[in-house]
Each structure stands twice: as C-alpha cells, then as structure tokens.
C-alpha cells in the first residue's frame, strides 16, 4: 500500500523575519536552535494573530481541520520550549507553497489575484465585468514547493523501497 499523499500547506503571508534570538541569560555559548516550520508559523499567525478558529484557518491553508490543529499544537509546543529553555527560533522549512487566490476573466482574458483575503472579489479589475472564474495552474506555484515536492517524492520512493525488502 502506498502511503497517503502529503498535502502541501498553503502560506498566504510569508514571515517578515527569519527568526528570534534570546538575550540575557548565562549559557549563551550553547545556543540551541528550534526550527519553526513555515506551516507552523502560518497556523500561529491565523489562529493567534488573526484570531480565526481552526476551521477557518484550515480552509486558508488548504488542509483539513484536524491537520491544522496538529500543526498548531506543534507550533505552540516549539515556541513554549524556545521560551522556557532560552533557545533560538528559526523560521524555515516545511512542505508549503506560497499563493493567493487567482482568477481568470472570461471577458478580457486576463488573470488576476485577490491580495485581500478577507474580502471576496466582486468584479474583474480590468474590464469591470462579473464574468470571471477561479483559476488553478501550476505556473503560479512557487519554486519552493516544486523543490519540496520532488524531495517528498524521493522520500516516499525510498520508503516504499524499504517495505519491499
């Protein structure tokens, strides 16, 4: 049996900084690092900063509600550990892609995105017609996710290899 396919998490707002460093304290030399994944940062941003509930946040990240809750609890555990143990936080990694919603206009043939995720699009910004449809295409997916996808596939391939041995 092949494993259940991994669903990439959607990040709508990448972090403005790449991490946090503790200050004060005595054991500065042995600064351990905690890697907060981008998906965990996003879950934290949606749940604790935007104050969305887990169901709304899961829709924004294009994963299921239980998955979002697991990501979120991992994020809280990591941040708590960093604060209590005085560790560095570095925000990176995770199997994600960056995207906002894209639409295509059926009248003038242009493509446009919706930068303001809280409000829905009501018309084509170019020709002001309401004749548009949702657009899904791989070309707008970032390089980051395709790299991650490939590495993910390789991992899966290795795993299946082990099973057959």
């Amino acid at each position: 049996m092949s494993p259940r396919p991994f669903i990439l998490r959607k990040i709508s707002d990448p972090p403005v900084i790449s991490g946090f460093k503790p200050y004060g304290g005595y054991n500065r030399g042995e600064n351990e690092i905690i890697f907060l994944h981008l998906e965990e940062y996003e879950a934290l941003r949606l749940c604790d900063y935007k104050m969305l509930n887990h169901h709304q946040a899961s829709l924004m990240m294009a994963v299921s509600r239980p998955t979002l809750t697991r990501i979120y609890s991992r994020a809280r555990k990591k941040i708590a550990e960093a604060i209590v143990m005085g560790k560095q936080i570095i925000i990176e990694g995770g199997k994600v892609y960056f995207d906002s919603e894209w639409y295509s206009c059926n009248n003038c043939g242009c493509y446009f995105n919706n930068p303001d995720k809280m409000n829905d699009i009501s018309e084509c910004p170019l020709c002001r017609k309401k004749d548009y449809s949702k657009f899904n295409n791989i070309i707008f997916e970032s390089e980051y996710s395709s790299e991650k996808k490939e590495s993910n596939k390789e991992e899966l391939h290795e795993n299946s290899h082990h099973q057959y041995r």
Partner: protein, 105 residues
C-alpha cells in the same frame, strides 16, 4: 487609486511589456485624476534582483494594482505581502492606450 502598467516605450501607443522586473518603462495611471506618469526602469539590465527593486519603485508611488505580462517568483510573494493586486495580460500586442481605456470603462 493608482495602477502601474509595464510598458515597452514611453508613449501611449507603446505595447505592454511582458516582463515585470526588467520592463523598459512603468506607466503609473491615477484613476481619479486621470494623470499618467512614465517612469524609466533603472533595472532593465540588472543581473539579479530586478523584480524586488522594481517593486520598490512602484510601491513608493502608492500603487495598488500592477498590470504586466508575467510576475517572477520573488515578486509574487513580495506583492502578496504588500497586498498589491497582480493582473496578468497574456497579449503582447495590447497598447497602453487600450488598457487605460479598459480601466476607464
């Protein structure tokens, strides 16, 4: 509201530039005052980082929407976080005049 269009020349008859970061000119159009400003792009021959540098130019002019043929990977995530709308027109023959007329409708 201000809208930026990438252009291959500095007249209204010039065509839309299919690249964002290395386009020849930016046309900043103001919907309220109908004012048009042509900005030459200093990043035309840049080897790297033309996209983010160009975003800085248009963001400094308080632009809310950008019309171009294509947006690169660095630019896309940057514009997403700046909450600017990207509009992609895959028609290289469209002139700036035509686009402005569409916006005025």
């Amino acid at each position: 509201m201000r809208i930026a269009i990438t252009s291959t020349g500095n007249t209204l008859d010039s065509k839309i530039d299919q690249r964002f970061g290395r386009c020849a000119y930016f046309v900043v159009y103001d919907l309220e005052t109908k004012g048009i400003e042509f900005i030459p792009n200093p990043n035309v021959d840049a080897l790297e980082g033309a996209g983010p540098a160009s975003v800085q130019i248009v963001a400094a002019r308080d632009v809310k929407k950008i019309i171009s043929g294509e947006f690169g990977i660095k630019v896309k995530s940057l514009l997403d976080s700046l909450k600017m709308q990207m509009i992609v027109i895959k028609e290289p023959e469209k002139t700036i005049n035509e686009i402005i007329n569409m916006l005025n409708n």
